[in-house]
Symmetry: C2
Subunit: 249 residues, 2 copies
């Protein structure tokens, strides 16, 4: 097993960090690695905002649901889908690009581009002995995030990534069975097989929690997902995304 | 520089492969690495379809715009945002999860989850000495892709990844200036600075093409982007995404 695969398989989300900031060199290397990712037709439809201001970190932690590690970490990155750059190009090149820029296709491209870059950043950080955690919680209130960071139209913050020197080593949670996630030549058509894979995984997860909580918790993955999804979250998102100029047609 | 950062920075899209299939062990290791990526609230909202059937590869190559390397490679993966699994859970747990599943928030989560997994897969492959290329071209006709691979509702194929033993070593194209993509504490507010960064990059890209084509090509990045975006592409996407049960509210 090479170091890349080792780093990938050794991943766990780190939520507790030493009080020690990343160096400029570390930050630049992480961003450079993010930029080395593939990008759809060379469009480079993303931006990254690094947060150093303690006040802004504090406010972002509040928005994310008072998660302490959003405030206390070595550095905080915000990954954004970004077509603002291309709107500036429309002006510079005197072309009307609006239909393209507000299409659902380009909304997807922005999300994919930003996320490819982010995963490179996380692996680069982990390879340096740092820990990281994705923070979807900033999507609790993207209007507030955009105000705080002066984010223009056609830019959507998608998630934060906190990075730092780890002060914990949590367990890795077992993933869905490989042959449930990975299909060959067609999506699994046998619904009994599909359900039995889910049930087998439910047992794995239930046993995982039971062992780690001395029997206090033994919920299945299915129950956990149903419980989470029965209360719809962030239902302002469609309106917000459209207001930002994405996915309008 | 460690092996992870080296692999990341050494990335280029490979579009010509030896006639040599990946082994089962390689495929499983790549999928296992994909699954090790972070996932939003443990939702695991993606699936991967591996294509071995030569007929299906041929058809996917046609859909992607007759790209030969979609047909001829060591293996072809299709990465999909997947909430079908969670709809099955709704039935198993006797809960109505519809509002959540068809929300724009969960559409974004599915895209992000699938893309994090894909980038792990690509880096794992590259670390094994394989080459890879993302294929957005399958989005030319996702209805046809879904028919071909029997993909159910609440699953959207996002892109393919072709992997194989490389038969080329293309140049790396220079990326946007680091401080154009990476902002600190707020999005760049000075539009003159912003534009001058784009203009500097335009010179870099123009010189890059000029050198590699003996002066036959010297277009800027801005011109290239304007030219690409002035013809809107895949404008069926919004209707398709909604028909698949995503982003409806």
């Amino acid at each position: 097993m090479n170091q890349v695969i080792e780093t990938i398989l050794n991943h766990r989300s780190i939520r507790k960090f030493e009080d020690r900031a990343l160096s400029e060199e570390q930050i630049e290397m992480i961003v450079q690695c993010a930029q080395a990712a593939s990008t759809s037709s060379f469009i480079q439809a993303y931006s990254i905002i690094g947060i150093k201001s303690p006040d802004k970190k504090k406010r972002l932690a509040e928005i994310a649901g008072n998660q302490a590690y959003v405030e206390s970490n070595g550095h905080l990155f915000i990954f954004c889908a970004d077509l603002h750059r291309h709107e500036v190009i429309a002006e510079m090149e005197d072309q009307d690009l609006t239909t393209s820029l507000q299409s659902t296709e380009k909304f997807m491209v922005g999300l994919i581009d930003a996320t490819l870059a982010a995963q490179n950043a996380v692996l680069a950080a982990e390879s340096m002995g740092l820990g990281a955690c994705y923070i979807g919680g900033i999507r609790n209130d993207l209007e507030a995030v955009c105000d705080l960071l002066h984010i223009p139209k056609r830019v959507i913050p998608l998630f934060a990534v906190v990075v730092g020197y780890p002060e914990q080593q949590p367990d890795k949670k077992p993933r869905l069975p490989l042959h449930h996630v990975y299909h060959e030549d067609a999506y699994q058509q046998n619904s009994e097989t599909y359900k039995s894979q889910l049930q087998a995984y439910d047992k794995t997860i239930s046993a995982y929690y039971e062992e780690r909580t001395n029997g206090k918790r033994n919920d299945t993955w299915s129950a956990q997902m149903a419980n989470m999804l029965k209360s719809p979250k962030r239902m302002y998102m469609k309106e917000f995304v459209e207001k930002k100029g994405f996915g309008l047609e």
